[in-house]
Amino acid sequence: MNWIYDPWPWYISGPLISLVMFLLLMVGKRFGMSSNLRTMCTICGAGKTSDFFRFDWKAQRWNLIVVLGAIIGGFIATNFLSTDISVDLNPTVIADLQSKGFESAGNAYMPEMLFSNDVFTNPKNLFLLIIGGLLVGFGARYAGGCTSGHAISGLSDLQLPSLIAVIGFFIGGLVMIHFIFPLIF
């Protein structure tokens, strides 16, 4: 049973993600997480400001339940299915991150600098989390999907628009890590 408690290798995890996509298709739904962010806007009353949010959000209730499940899944995996959650990174990446001030690299699941409660009293890091979130939300809706909707569902269906979006994801990610990170960390 030890394999459950260790990190799961890519050749197990990847096919299990395809299984999630397949199960959602088999219950008549589509795999896509970022559309929940739009639903949440609608529930909060965003329909008053833009037509984009005027739709029957109850038709998307199923997806919100999937999100609730994902939260519970995160709780279960962290508390009951893991012994050591530190991520075994490439040593060069650990050295590189530590030189940038990410001291927890190699010993944690998430960088302490951004994801410990200290961030609430650190204006710079708080600002970075807000900018990151804004870009994810704005970009996902502009591109019409995120990693699940485009990179997994769309590419699996050989959709050219999804390939363009995924290339965009990578251009953005590479620019952030290679050109913007040296300026901010």
Partner: protein, 137 residues
């Protein structure tokens, strides 16, 4: 009953994302440094098997558990919205280290500050709806 199925699929998805480390900020950073095969293996094998699954569904006109035909609506043709939207998303993905699935998984894992990312992502979605008609699509 159906709600329970959606909930179980969500729980399974959350466990897979956490245990695969795809929800780890560090793994995303490492991926954009091309320093590990791990994330490429996950996405590559998910898409590889996904292509086979979708081809089989189409070829054998498979029906869902409810007996409905599974139809997948093709995405609208465009270049600019996918490229520009994609780049903006990628910038945020690398900075926050979480995309819209993992951010909820991490909330369950107990990383309180991810709530900032989630609220900002909802706000970003709202801003998109606000300026949508002025953007090239």
């Amino acid at each position: 009953m159906r709600s329970i199925i959606y909930l179980l699929i969500g729980i399974f998805f959350g466990i897979v994302l956490f245990k695969s480390e795809a929800a780890s900020w560090f793994r995303i950073y490492e991926m954009f440094q091309f320093a590990s095969f791990h994330m490429y293996g996950i996405i590559g094998s998910a898409v590889g098997l996904g292509i086979i699954v979708i081809q089989l569904i189409k070829r054998y006109k498979m029906k869902s558990f409810n007996g409905e035909h599974i139809t997948i609506i093709p995405k609208d043709r465009s270049f600019s919205r996918y490229m520009i939207g994609g780049i903006l998303f990628g910038l945020g993905w690398a900075l926050a280290g979480a995309c819209p699935g993992p951010m909820f998984v991490l909330l369950g894992s107990g990383y309180t500050s991810i709530i900032i990312v989630i609220l900002a992502a909802i706000l970003g979605t709202f801003l998109y709806g606000f300026v949508k008609d002025k953007l090239p699509h």
